[in-house]
């Protein structure tokens, strides 16, 4: 009984500590592992990962927050994709070079910008 109480007390201390610090030792690793495993799983999952990486980059680094949004993202080659962003008078084109590592992790290796005038 005493032993059981001690275990419960220790568990409670850990639980409170995690709650207070927000620290969860396995969450990030698990997320990475799942994402990597998903990207590695098959070509569809891999494409999804690539498109997600591109979308995240557009969201973070493209400052023209007006206009018509993302018109389309197309694959130019095995490792190259173009995101077309609709604006008045023009489309801004962000051209991505991507690399898929053996562990399934997707990396954007370069972004270049072009403009299509209308």
């Amino acid at each position: 009984m005493v032993f059981r109480n001690r275990i419960m007390a220790v568990a409670a201390v850990f639980a409170v500590a995690f709650w207070l610090t927000g620290f969860s030792p396995s969450n990030k690793a698990r997320a990475d592992t799942i994402a990597a495993r998903n990207c590695k799983m098959d070509v569809i999952k891999q494409s999804v990962c690539i498109y997600e990486a591109i979308l995240a980059d557009v969201d973070k680094n493209y400052p023209m927050r007006g206009g018509g949004g993302i018109g389309r993202i197309v694959q130019n080659s095995t490792t190259s994709y173009s995101a077309y962003l609709l604006q008045e008078e023009r489309e801004d084109v962000r051209i991505y070079e991507v690399k898929v590592l053996p562990n399934g992790k997707v990396t954007i290796t370069s972004v270049t910008e072009e403009t299509v005038t209308h």
Binding site: G66, G67, G71, R90, E114, H118
Partner: protein
């Protein structure tokens, strides 16, 4: 004296009859725009139209123009774009042009830049530009417009981008487009990241620094002194015509006696610096001293 010139982009009238010790010469640019309705196919009440008028681009829902909505849109276009560009600049007369005497004093008026926008239907004669216009369905927030294809919401204030602090930069698309029609380029054309030899519609040409982003020829609504360029260029053309007229009317007299021109030859190369505040006509002494008169002076008239 009133002089008129017609350019490809607009008509210009220079009026010195209005000059007195308090009032400057007036240079009015008149832009005649012809608008043409784009309606759903087959006379339907509703339909679709593609961004940029390009069938490979996304389609947006459009509705048929009515006489009332068409008239209201054209009126709104003119009544909101014209005041934006009208009467905002004064070109400083350092060339000694348009001099006149009053009360024993010689005055040199500056040039007040006026703008007149006329919205016609496309079929009217004499339009400088013809623009197609779609009427967007209320559910549509955006349509891909360009210089000859507008949508009914282009007169609304809309978010174009954010500045470096994440604050929204707003613009009415039609005032930016009228700037282009007057001959203005995007704000950063000529800078290293937007060379005139490259694509001047590239995103960087709309401004990189916050001040440039907020300019009307960037993504915002702020006028700048360099936006007086169309008036300045029109004025130079009046100077050329004034000179040529004097030469051709009486070449011998021109060579021998050098008749007084309304705009001296130096007007051809004068900077005509622009100001965005009213500057009153100056006396010869004030011009000599480089004095600017921005508060109504007390003149002996």
């Amino acid at each position: 004296m009133k002089s008129k010139l017609s350019f490809k982009r607009f008509d210009a009238e220079l009026n010195t009859d209005v000059c007195d010790p308090y009032n400057n010469a007036e240079l009015t640019l008149t832009l005649k725009m012809g608008f043409r309705q784009i309606n759903p196919a087959g006379g339907a009440a509703e339909g679709t139209y593609h961004d940029y008028g390009d069938a490979t681009k996304p389609a947006r829902k459009i509705i048929k123009w009515t006489d009332a909505s068409w008239k209201a849109w054209k009126t709104n276009f003119v009544q909101s774009a014209e005041p934006f560009w009208h009467g905002k600049f004064w070109l400083i007369n350092d060339a000694g042009a348009f001099s006149f005497a009053k009360g024993g004093e010689t005055y040199y008026p500056n040039v007040w830049c006026r703008f007149k926008l006329i919205g016609n239907d496309a079929g009217a004669a004499g339009n400088h530009h013809t623009i197609d216009v779609v009427r967007l369905n209320a559910s549509e927030k955006w349509f891909g417009s360009h210089s000859t294809l507008y949508d009914s919401k282009d007169t609304n204030l809309a978010k174009k981008r954010t500045d470096s602090k994440g604050k929204p930069v707003m613009q009415r698309a039609h005032v930016h487009e009228v700037g282009h029609l007057l001959g203005l380029d995007h704000v950063d054309v000529g800078k290293a990241h937007c060379l005139p030899s490259g694509n001047t519609n590239a995103a960087a040409c709309y401004g990189v620094a916050d001040d440039d982003i907020k300019a009307v020829m960037g993504g915002g609504m702020q006028l700048r002194v360099e936006n007086a360029y169309p008036w300045r260029e029109a004025l130079r053309n009046f100077a050329v015509v004034d000179l040529l007229t004097a030469v051709f009317n009486n070449p011998l007299s021109f060579l021998v006696s050098r008749p007084a021109l309304q705009m001296p030859i130096v007007s051809l190369t004068s900077v005509w610096p622009a100001k965005m505040q009213r500057h009153y006509p100056r006396t010869a002494a004030e011009v000599q001293a480089g004095k600017m008169i921005t508060v109504r002076p007390n003149r002996k008239v």
